[in-house]
Amino acid sequence: MYRLIIRSIFNQNLFLKRYSSNSNNYINVTIIDRDEKLINAKAKIGSNMLDVVLDNKLDIDGFGACEGTLACSTCHVVLDSENYKTLPEPVEEENDMLDLAFGLTPTSRLACQIIVEPRMKDWIFVVPKDVNDQR
């Protein structure tokens, strides 16, 4: 009887260990879409934020049209200034494409160029509106 209990606790620990070591590959981030809806997404470490949007099957119109090759600005995201400052500088080619992004801000980046790191846990990425909604 005792053996059963110990074994089930042991197995549970093993199970938790296995689960958490798998989840070490992923962190949780928040993506706010164009309708201002908060979406919790699992971001794989080492992938880029465009991959994250695609892997989580988020329905964001036209996001990532050039498939991450720095030939468009459709994966434009806005970060808060504290997090933005900690990112590596964009390469010139990214800035060239950001030039074309609608609603560009001082803390804008292209999602396809942001590589997911563990420290980005719980970061918020805002997908800005891509057209002027004023009638």
């Binding site: 049209a65 074309l100 891509d130 057209v131």
Partner: protein, 488 residues
């Protein structure tokens, strides 16, 4: 057994279709709204994508009509061969074309074989998205009489496999100097094709004819000439940066051309123009970096072409120097210039005119602004033509890259669906046959319509041909052959 299959599949299908028409509780119509988009380039496809998104609860079908037997417009025929990443949008377009509510219908020339008004029988809503395909001319002596003078549209069409340009035959091996008139992205594309290494070009989808001609090219100096100054250039930074980084190619900008630009002027500019001006400044002020450069490109400002000279082939261009009109602001994008009396002759054996495009009026019934080359419209609604809309270059002018057309298509789709939902379109209750009716009419006029599945057969053939030579594809240049391959 066969009749059994029909009975089991066909009849339930019919019943399901009629049930769905009866049971849909849309307040707008009891049969699908038929939408027709004329043009299958970025404007047509992105509009379709947005319409699909906004019409999920209203039964609609969208047909994309294309004049050519192949889809994608300038993405296939305009984007440079060495910009394959820009062509990635084709993957998005394919998903749209294969959507159950979308049908691609190629090889139909609206305004020629089928009239614009005739479409109203089959469609409730018609959106013109056919771009701007006519080049602007200089209207100067020698332009139409001398050989080796081309519009950028034809030169681009030649290296990109447009059937009409297959016989262009530019001569590139009797001269080492080319002049390109204009400073937009198309001008830069032409310059880059003339200056890039053959080994790099050989791996792209550039046509074999162009590759062979360029392999024998002796052109070493490409001079881009503009009528105004550095602050009025039309090209964008990505394309300029690319040119400055070409292997074995040296940028030859004149420091003096940038003397009037100071930091105050730069700081007042919007970000894209600011960064572009800074890059030009930096390029002009940096000492020659490439010692083994064999090819050179130049930007010459304040020169307006007056005349082309030569016996049969072009041999030189006369330019009149210009200056800004009184009180002109150096950084004004709409700066006006006037001649200052000096004439300069630049020798060259090839001239490419790249000074913009305008649209055509495909049907006299279409309200058109001939001067601007666009359809008359107010907020994308075509003047005096309820149910007719426009999007892309044909509605706003031939400027801007794909990104701008994509952004615009959101607004146009919204506008159309607003009109639908607010009851501004009075014919929505009519039952219309959409593509079925159009294809039947086309057949009666001996026109063979190309479906998306047909295109995929040609696509596979071109891809296989290309792969055998280490290229992404080898484009078929002959319309008849294209039509044959879509039937195989």
């Amino acid at each position: 057994m066969f009749t059994n299959v029909i009975r089991r599949c066909f009849v339930p299908c019919l019943i399901r279709r009629s049930l769905s028409i009866v049971s849909n509780n849309s307040t707008v119509s009891s049969s699908p709204i038929r939408i027709c988009v004329i043009g299958s380039g970025p404007a047509g496809f992105y509009l379709t994508q947005n319409l699909l998104k906004l019409s999920q609860t209203i039964p609609t079908t969208i047909d994309i009509i294309e004049k050519a037997p192949v889809p994608f417009g300038l993405v296939r025929y305009g984007v440079a061969p060495d910009h394959p990443e820009v062509k990635n949008v084709i993957n998005t377009f394919t998903k749209i074309a294969e959507h159950e509510r979308v049908r691609f219908i190629g090889n139909i020339h609206i305004g020629k074989t089928i009239g614009l008004k005739e479409l109203q029988e089959f469609y409730h809503i018609i959106v013109l998205a056919y771009g701007s395909s006519v080049e602007r001319n200089l209207h100067i002596p020698g332009e139409t009489t001398l050989e080796n003078v081309f519009s950028a549209k034809d030169f681009v069409g030649w290296y990109n496999g447009v059937p009409d340009n297959a016989q262009l035959r530019p001569q590139l091996n009797h001269t080492d100097q080319a002049v390109i008139i204009g400073m937009g992205n198309v001008a830069l594309d032409c310059a880059r094709m003339l200056l890039s290494s053959i080994d790099d070009l050989a791996k792209t989808d550039i046509t074999d004819i162009a590759l062979d001609t360029l392999r024998q090219s002796r052109i070493r100096h490409v001079i881009l000439v503009a009528r105004r100054g550095p602050m009025q250039v039309s090209f964008t930074i990505k394309e300029l940066r690319e040119l400055t980084k070409l292997n074995g190619v040296q940028s030859m900008l004149n420091k003096e051309d940038f003397n009037q630009i100071d930091q105050t002027m730069i700081d007042k500019l919007e970000r894209p123009r600011k960064r572009l001006s800074e890059l030009m400044l930096k390029t002009a002020r940096t000492k020659q970096s490439q010692n083994n450069a064999e090819r050179f490109w130049y930007l010459k400002f304040w020169r307006r072409p007056k005349q082309l000279n030569g016996k049969t082939l072009v041999e030189s261009v006369d330019f009149e120097h210009t200056e800004s009109v009184a009180n002109g602001d150096f950084s004004d994008p709409n700066l006006s210039v006037q001649p200052n009396g000096t004439i300069e002759t630049i020798p060259c054996g090839l001239v490419i005119k790249s000074i913009g495009y305008y649209g055509v009026q495909i049907d006299p019934w279409l309200p058109f602004d001939t001067e601007r080359g666009i359809i008359r419209n107010r907020q994308y609604r075509i003047d005096d033509r309820p149910g007719f809309y426009c999007t892309g270059w044909i509605g706003r002018g031939a400027r801007g890259v794909i990104a701008e057309t994509t952004t615009e298509s959101h607004t146009v789709a919204k506008r159309i669906m607003e009109d639908v939902e607010q009851g501004h379109l009075t014919n929505l209750h009519d039952v219309k046959s959409g593509g079925d009716g159009l294809i039947a009419l086309a057949k009666s006029r001996q026109i063979r319509c190309i479906s998306y599945e047909d295109w995929k057969k040609l696509d596979a053939h071109e891809t296989n041909l290309g792969n055998a030579k280490g290229k992404p594809r080898e484009k078929i240049l002959n319309i008849q052959k294209m039509l044959e391959l879509t039937a195989s």
